[in-house]
């Protein structure tokens, strides 16, 4: 069956800037927001936008991600035709190779794309946190009769030099693309979300593959080549929450953003639910001496201590007299009595002993405790 649009999620990155959090898993599988994994946002966006064929391009430590995505049921992507497909590199008659760049990863899956005979291909990143109705982007693309459309976000001009910047004419068509310009001419930053007419994209991918000097990257090679060749590129303006959680700091910040009372991501909005693979946990229990303020607490937690401005994932146990603030605690971790934790990210399945002290509120840095760590009672780790 032919599908009008198929989406490809680039989820192969190793995420080295997330340090020990991505030692044994791909970045999109990292936990976020007291319940979710980063890729839930992109998958839920696809599902809510009625996109029925989604390929997830993986190659680095895909096990956790694969087993998390499973058959795609939590996102309604367990379809008879299409649904979600994991796309790792493979061997063919000429041998095989790992994905060399974002464009090469898509190039290696041309056959998969052709199978579904799509008119458009939507290229997404698996490690961005945002809510977006892609069907509106698609309508925009059709209306403008574009050949490629790039979603852009207005950033403060002072920060524009950290992004790929799109310079557009009045009608939104892109005439120039500058990667991290020192003197930005506009504040429209590329969100790394591309919609292409498949026939055009395929042609450029085939050409790019031949180019020995290419990095095989959308931002560095394919988009500039398209611009040079006169392809009709449009900028689709997006407004709303968007965050690339590629670093420890941005991951922590994105979690803290959720605690703002007027946060734009609004996880409680029933019109654009973020789906997630469910935990099998009873309701959380809050003990007699517990105190919880301005925090998100997941299912199955048992809280006997104090929690302030923090995000606590399912199955966490916080003993009495423990004080947690400005901190993210991931799944099934145990924090023992009288331990104080500030401005930290504590990984999955850790146990922190009694009377420990982790992190410092006034510190610039986020303290990280990686998965499965056991911390002796009395330890000071700042």
């Amino acid at each position: 069956m032919s599908k009008e649009v198929i989406a490809l999620i680039l989820a192969g990155g190793q995420g080295t800037r997330l340090g020990s959090l991505t030692k044994k898993m791909a970045k999109p599988a990292v936990a976020f927001g007291g319940k979710y994994r980063i890729i839930d946002f992109t998958l839920s966006n696809c599902s809510n936008s009625d996109i029925e064929v989604v390929g997830v391009l993986t190659q680095f430590e895909p096990l956790v991600l694969n087993s998390y995505i499973g058959i795609g049921a939590p996102w309604g992507l367990d379809r008879r035709d299409g649904g979600v497909t994991i796309l790792p590199p493979y061997l063919n008659e000429e041998g095989g190779e790992w994905y060399k760049g974002t464009a090469n990863a898509v190039y290696q899956n041309i056959e998969f794309i052709d199978l579904h005979k799509p008119k458009y291909v939507l290229i997404l990143s698996g490690d961005h946190i945002y809510k977006m109705d892609y069907s509106k982007l698609i309508s925009f693309h059709k209306e403008k009769e574009a050949e490629a459309t790039i979603a852009v976000l207005k950033v403060p001009l002072s920060e524009a030099s950290r992004f790929g910047i799109m310079n557009t004419t009045e009608d939104g068509s892109i005439y120039e693309f500058e990667e991290k310009p020192i003197e930005p001419k506009s504040n429209l930053a590329s969100m790394g979300i591309y919609l292409f007419n498949w026939d055009i994209l395929k042609k450029f991918l085939l050409e790019d593959e031949q180019d020995k000097k290419s990095h095989h990257d959308f931002g560095k090679n394919v988009i500039p080549n398209m611009l040079n060749s006169g392809v009709k590129l449009m900028a689709y303006p997006f407004s709303g929450y968007w965050k690339d959680v590629g670093t420890i700091e941005s991951l922590w910040e994105a979690n803290m953003d959720l605690l703002e009372s007027d946060n734009e991501l609004d996880l409680f909005d029933t019109n654009w639910k973020i789906y997630s693979s469910a935990f099998i946990q009873p309701a959380q229990y809050i003990g007699k001496e517990a105190k919880i303020v301005n925090s998100l607490i997941g299912e199955g937690c048992k809280i006997y201590g104090t929690i302030i401005n923090s995000v606590i994932f399912p199955g966490v146990y916080i003993a009495k007299d423990a004080i947690i603030s400005d901190t993210v605690v991931m799944e099934d971790t145990i924090i023992n009595e009288s331990t104080i934790i500030n401005k930290s990210i504590i990984g999955n399945r850790c146990e922190i002993g009694q009377n420990c002290k982790v992190g410092k509120t006034e510190s610039k840095n986020i303290s990280i405790i990686s998965d499965d760590f056991y911390m002796e009672g009395g330890t000071i780790y700042v």
Partner: protein, 368 residues
């Protein structure tokens, strides 16, 4: 391993809990923050290795169909097995409802075409953690024709007052069944036998079965067949009155009780609802309470159970309350000993005070 067909019989007397069963059977009443009562029986079956489950409804089955859907939440969406809901066929008028034998016999061909050697029949309103595979092991070892599960109650309590009790002989053989206050061996209405025998009983092909109720038909056979009692001694409550419903929910706030019902090795499955984590806002003061996901709390909550997506505004004080899914409590409202059914809205400043033995119940969708 021998295979068991699980049968959940929802022919349950709801007359003493009618405030919560106008639009749902007992099986669909919310319990323990995020479950429906039937979740516990289905999960017991799944945890016991049963992957073929028939649910026989009696009435008000819409909420059961909506809850179970394809059975995926219990991993019971299967090619050839899985979970099936059988509603009474339309040719039965409401006044015939009391006969579970009739309801089941209409679907006997499904039982006939099942391949499991054994069946276990269980109600939903006894919430337990019974392991049917252990029960089967004893059933086989004793060479029983029929096994029935019971729990020995130490202290006399009112909770099982309307339950049948077993009179058990020394060899664990069931001598008789009585309905008597204060009896000790509470019959859990859980019955195990070979599938073929079960079909014969439903078909009334066995000498002496002329009863309309399955349990009556079974015990009528006590002299002809070997009926053994299986002793279960874990968590057990029977939810068929408002009083037990209210108290047993709040009883779960005790660590010792909660850990008897929930453990990692015996998970309770339920339909996922895609709710976000609980949001505690700046005025939240929550103690000794069970809170389900999707709640948003900005007031004071003590000794209470909140189901999914409950909203508590600033200044609210609730104590000893059960608040079901999607209810919203407006600013400065004060609630004590209250049960709010689903989708209730309590206006700002409202004060409702029930008592421990007589909680106030607000029906579904009410605005107070």
């Amino acid at each position: 391993m021998y295979s068991i067909l699980g049968i959940i019989n929802l022919n349950e007397d709801d007359s003493r809990i009618e405030e919560l069963t106008y639009n749902r059977p007992i099986a669909a009443i919310p319990f323990a923050g995020r479950y429906r009562i039937i979740d516990f029986t289905i999960s017991n079956m799944v945890n016991s290795g049963i992957n073929h489950v028939f649910i026989f409804t009696r009435d008000k089955y819409r909420s059961i169909t909506d809850h179970i859907q394809t059975g995926r939440a219990w991993d019971l969406e299967r090619k050839n097995k899985g979970v099936f809901i059988f509603n009474p066929l339309q040719n039965y008028y409401p006044y015939l409802r009391s006969s579970d034998m009739d309801i089941i016999s209409d679907y006997l061909d499904y039982i006939y075409y099942s391949k499991e050697k054994y069946v276990v029949i269980s109600p939903s309103y006894f919430i337990s953690r019974i392991d049917y595979s252990k029960m089967l092991k004893e059933h086989i070892e004793r060479k029983a024709d029929i096994s029935v599960a019971y729990k020995k109650i130490e202290k006399e309590t009112g909770e099982y007052s309307d339950s049948d009790c077993l009179i058990i002989g020394k060899d664990n053989r069931v001598i008789d069944i009585i309905n008597k206050k204060g009896a000790k061996n509470v019959f859990m209405e859980t019955i195990m036998m070979e599938r073929k025998l079960f079909m014969d009983i439903i078909n009334k092909r066995i000498l002496g079965t002329d009863k309309d109720l399955l349990k009556d038909a079974v015990f009528q056979l006590k002299n002809n067949l070997k009926i053994f009692a299986y002793n279960y001694d874990g968590y057990l409550v029977k939810i068929d009155t408002i009083n037990t419903y209210y108290k047993e929910n709040l009883e779960l706030l005790k660590e010792s009780t909660m850990s008897k019902l929930f453990s990692d090795s015996w998970p309770v499955y339920t339909k996922a609802k895609d709710e976000p984590p609980v949001k505690y806002q700046v005025n939240a003061e929550v103690t000794n309470s069970m809170i389900a996901s999707g709640c948003c709390i900005d007031g004071t909550v003590e000794n209470s159970v909140l189901f999914r997506r409950v909203g508590i505004q600033p200044g609210v004080k609730i104590n000893h309350c059960i608040v079901m899914q999607n209810s919203k409590i407006g600013e400065n409202a004060v609630l004590e000993h209250v049960i709010l059914d689903k989708n209730v809205v309590i206006s700002s400043g409202e004060v409702l005070r029930g008592t421990w033995d007589d909680p106030i119940i607000i029906e579904k969708n009410q605005i107070i």
